[in-house]
């Protein structure tokens, strides 16, 4: 029996190549067994040209896609990204854009190889593949991957992939990634590496399926055309690169780019961090007891604890361990082990590998330990579950993780690199839009909040969204064409701030009025699960930003207000008073908003918290606070109560003045107050322990700890050790 000739290097099958690559990495510790990289090093200028040519082809491909697409997700927010991959699915170069998907797209290619696509499905020049299933690898179904093989004289020499966030994938309402969907079928269409075309052309029957299935079919298909055009552009440019540099140089060069980046990443870890054990914890809140659900086991409130341990090892490796994470549940926020890599990718690219060379090599020194089976991060029932919002969970975890890494940078003296972030929330809608059509509606311009404080200055006031920086606001006038929400205001919110010697940026609540919207349903909570517990995101004495909020404001008589020219609501203002509006009822949600009736002229409010401050607030330079007062980013109350800065407004000069003497006294008094109300930890520990022994805590927390202990001996041991609990203690 003759061995079948493969489409890969030297007649090997892709599966053989994948196995060989894995073995070489295992045996040598170097990517593709490259222990002595030389192809790129022999001529650095040529190597630079080689990399630049690939990078520029990906960026121009991405721009091509933006020109073809009709979706504001692509055109306004640029929520897309491209990458070039080895035949085995390993990322070589990535474009600008949402870099969370860089490894995940490659994981889809690897999955296709492992599942015998070469033999059973067939992989040929011009074949178009489509994927969006987080069960394989991904963030959530609305992120759709277009995958194209690149052949040279009959041999598959690379892949190019494009990710686009879709407006619609046929998920149940409201929106395109419904928060309360719990069953897989509710997610909409799933593509598991589906071959949707050949010879660079989408199959007509696939187009028909989309036209029948989706409300926004035209946008979806236009996105495919944009992505396929982008992929083809890169493919043709790769062929030009091979003509110029030679096939051998290309094959070796792309692998050496990964190995060189792996080495550089280890060097960065050793240069910028400190080895040791870092710990943090984030609870994920999912309140569905009041939500309408299709599956009764989902109808309950749960909180899941997510301990995050990062070990930076002497050899320059970074190991993440989520041991102690609680159980999976019937909700849309479960994560797969592969999905965790998406969160790590985006943080690594933003914090360490930001020189344009980021690729799989950036991640090779990292390890994510396989989370416990049946945990939130490794649910055995994942194939039955909806996976609309695992992004929320990942954001929560990796926003804190950025702070962990920031602390490491701080200790090495690279204080300018300290940073963390939070996620956003927003309203998803269902109903008849301004054109009388039924459509999924989720406006994308909601990622609006400032970044965390750095070690050398305040956080960026308004630009803190690491995943897609272009998401901040976007162009709302374009969104108004797609969703029946009129822009009412985006006011910087002083009380959202994470206070500290350096403060975080500010949240910018999205206030939009429903206009010409009928028979509407709304839900909210896209980005994060922090309705009642603040994320532990304050650094080195700084506070976490305030809690995020979701509101629906219903005017008593909107037409009358317009006729009488009464003021509409444009800002949160005093957070103690916002719920008490004179001309409107404010419906306040401190839970996962499943599906509530919304009406025309209601005001939807997505009020994010902000990231973390850094350092003791009473050590804040009064000059910084004066600048904030003068620009309206803070107020007198916060200055006095949090920063202990006495300031008054000078009507003559129209600016704030700091009273240095009074400030000094306020700060001295604050220190005395701290010494008087602070107690030795031992004293607090004894009291808390007694309370714990009686299990005197909210049942949601009892269940949360029980869930973590059920899955982890290590968590149970650590918990009992800390509280010195008897061996037979259990929740």
């Amino acid at each position: 029996m003759t061995k079948r000739k493969g489409i890969g290097d030297g007649g090997r099958t892709l599966k053989q190549m994948l196995e060989d690559n894995s073995r070489l990495l295992r045996e040598t510790g170097c990517y593709a067994g490259i222990t002595q990289p030389h192809v790129l090093r022999d001529d650095p200028v040529r190597a630079e040209l080689f990399h630049s040519r690939i990078m520029s082809s990906l960026i121009s491909g991405r721009e091509t896609c933006k020109m073809i697409s009709g979706s504001p997700y692509v055109r306004e927010m640029a929520e897309l990204c491209m990458g070039l991959y080895t035949p085995e699915g390993d990322n070589v170069v990535q474009s600008t854009g949402i870099q969370v998907h860089i490894r995940l797209m490659g994981d889809n290619v690897t999955w296709m190889i492992e599942n015998n696509y070469e033999e059973d499905v067939g992989i040929s020049d011009g074949d178009l593949f489509l994927a969006n299933d987080p069960v394989i690898a991904g963030v959530h179904g609305v992120d759709v991957y277009d995958i194209l093989p690149i052949f040279w004289e009959g041999e598959l020499i690379a892949w190019v992939c494009t990710v686009i966030h879709e407006m619609d994938i046929g998920a149940v309402s409201p929106g395109c990634m419904p928060i309360t969907a719990v069953e897989r079928g509710a997610d909409g269409l799933k593509f598991c590496g589906e071959k949707i075309g050949t010879n660079d052309k989408i199959r007509r029957d696939f187009e028909i399926k989309i036209e029948i299935s989706l409300d926004f079919a035209a946008l979806f298909l236009l996105d495919r055309k944009g992505a396929i055009a982008a992929n083809i552009r890169v493919r043709e440019e790769v062929k030009n690169i091979i003509r110029e540099f030679g096939l051998d140089y290309f094959k070796n060069g792309i692998r050496e780019l990964i190995e060189e980046e792996r080495r550089n990443q280890i060097a960065r870890i050793k240069q910028r961090t400190v080895p040791g054990r870092y710990r943090d914890v984030v609870p994920l809140e999912i309140y569905m007891a009041q939500a309408p659900v299709s599956w009764l086991p989902a109808k309950k409130d749960i909180i899941r604890l997510i301990p995050i341990q990062t070990d930076i090892l002497p050899e320059g490796r970074l190991v993440l361990d989520f041991d102690g994470v609680g159980e999976w549940g019937w909700h849309s926020m479960n994560v797969t082990p592969k999905g965790l890599w998406g969160g790590l990718s985006i943080c690594i690219v933003q914090t360490m590998s930001y020189d344009g060379r980021g690729n799989l090599g950036s991640l090779l020194p990292c390890e994510i330990k396989t989370p416990p089976v049946d945990s939130l991060f490794n649910p055995s029932q994942i194939k039955k579950l909806a996976t609309g919002i695992p992004w929320a969970t990942k954001l929560d975890v990796f926003s804190l993780w950025c702070g962990t890494l920031g602390t490491a940078f701080y200790m090495r003296g690279f204080r300018e690199e300290v940073f963390n972030y939070v996620s956003s929330s927003g309203w998803e809608l269902a109903g008849y839009d301004q054109y009388g059509n039924k459509r999924p509606m989720l406006a994308g311009g909601i990622g609006t909040f400032g970044g965390g404080a750095t070690g050398v200055g305040d956080g960026v006031d308004t630009g803190g969204w690491v995943a897609t920086p272009e998401t901040d606001l976007g162009n709302w006038e374009v969104w108004e064409l797609f969703v029946p929400q009129l822009f009412m205001s985006r006011m910087l919110e002083p009380y959202s701030v994470g206070y500290g010697r350096y403060r975080s940026g500010l949240a910018i609540p999205s206030m939009d009025m429903l206009h010409r919207f009928t028979e509407g349903i709304g839900s909210a909570a896209i980005g994060c699960g922090h309705d009642r517990i603040l994320p532990n995101i304050g650094l080195l004495g700084g506070y976490p930003g305030g809690k995020r909020n979701t509101f629906l404001v219903r005017y008593h008589n909107f037409e009358d207000m317009i006729a009488k020219r009464l003021p509409l609501i444009h800002e949160i203002g005093d957070p103690r008073e916002f719920k008490n509006q004179k001309y409107a009822d404010v419906i306040y949600f401190d839970y996962t908003v499943g599906a509530v009736e919304v009406r025309d002229k209601d005001l939807t409010v997505s009020d994010n918290g902000s990231a973390g401050g850094l350092g003791d607030p009473i050590e804040r330079n009064p000059a910084l606070q004066k600048a904030d007062l003068d620009t309206g980013l803070t107020n007198e109350e916060i200055s006095k109560n949090v920063y202990c800065i006495e300031a008054c407004y000078d009507e003559k000069t129209k600016e704030w003045k700091i009273d240095e003497e009074a400030t000094k006294k306020l700060r001295e008094a604050k220190r005395k107050e701290r010494l008087s109300r602070g107690v030795p930890v031992e004293e607090w520990w004894q009291k808390s322990r007694q309370r714990l022994l009686k299990k005197d805590m909210d049942p949601l927390l009892v269940e949360m700890y029980r869930s973590s202990m059920k899955l982890s001996e290590g968590f149970t041991r650590d918990y009992k050790d800390f509280w010195a609990l008897p061996n037979d203690f259990s929740f």
Binding site: I537, G609, R674
Partner: protein
């Protein structure tokens, strides 16, 4: 890439304009940063023990005789660096709506039934060293246990005398507390 100590002092003191900070962020990192960082910090503390590792805005792991301890820049000592320094701090817990609303008024306030915000103060100078927001009942987090010997030996190429075992010794403290109150 190299910066003067004055450049770094200005960076740390918030005296550099954004365009200069951005320049530092964008350039390759300077290999001698840690040495200069420690020199700057050492000049600023009123005591003589050698700083081995800054671990916070006020806290340092220092070499004191043969021991390595966590020390505040005010001089207060927290004990062995392998025990969570928070266990030797003063704590104030915002566990009621009233206490939480001092910082997070109105709709910004978390639910005190589920969330507590712990503030750790230095008993010597009352500096706020760390704010910890966690679910009620969660153990105090040991944010960072450094592997100092590996750091100095393998990364800086300057091994420290008398290596210490890299291990978390915090539970010794809580076990002693339990024994004391049994």
């Amino acid at each position: 890439m190299e910066y003067s100590k004055q450049d770094l002092k200005d960076l740390y003191d918030g005296k550099l304009p954004w365009d200069k900070i951005k320049e530092i962020m964008s350039r390759p990192k300077d290999d001698d940063r840690f040495d200069k960082y420690v020199e700057i910090l050492q000049e600023r503390v009123p005591w003589k023990e050698k700083i081995l590792l800054p671990v916070g805005e006020h806290l340092y792991v220092v070499q004191k005789a043969k021991e390595r301890i966590v020390k505040c820049n005010c001089g207060h000592e927290f004990g062995d660096y392998r025990q969570n320094w928070k266990l030797s701090a003063l704590i104030f817990v915002r566990d009621t709506r009233e206490k939480l609303e001092e910082i997070y008024p109105g709709v910004r306030c978390p639910d005190p039934n589920l969330c507590e915000v712990r503030e750790y103060y230095c008993p010597g100078c009352a500096s706020l060293l760390k704010v910890e927001s966690v679910p009620v009942g969660h153990p105090i987090i040991f944010d960072f246990l450094p592997d100092i010997d590996a750091f100095y030996r393998d990364w800086l190429g300057k091994p420290l005398p008398e290596e210490k075992e890299y291990t978390d010794m915090s539970s010794q403290v809580t076990m002693a507390w339990r024994a004391k109150h049994a």
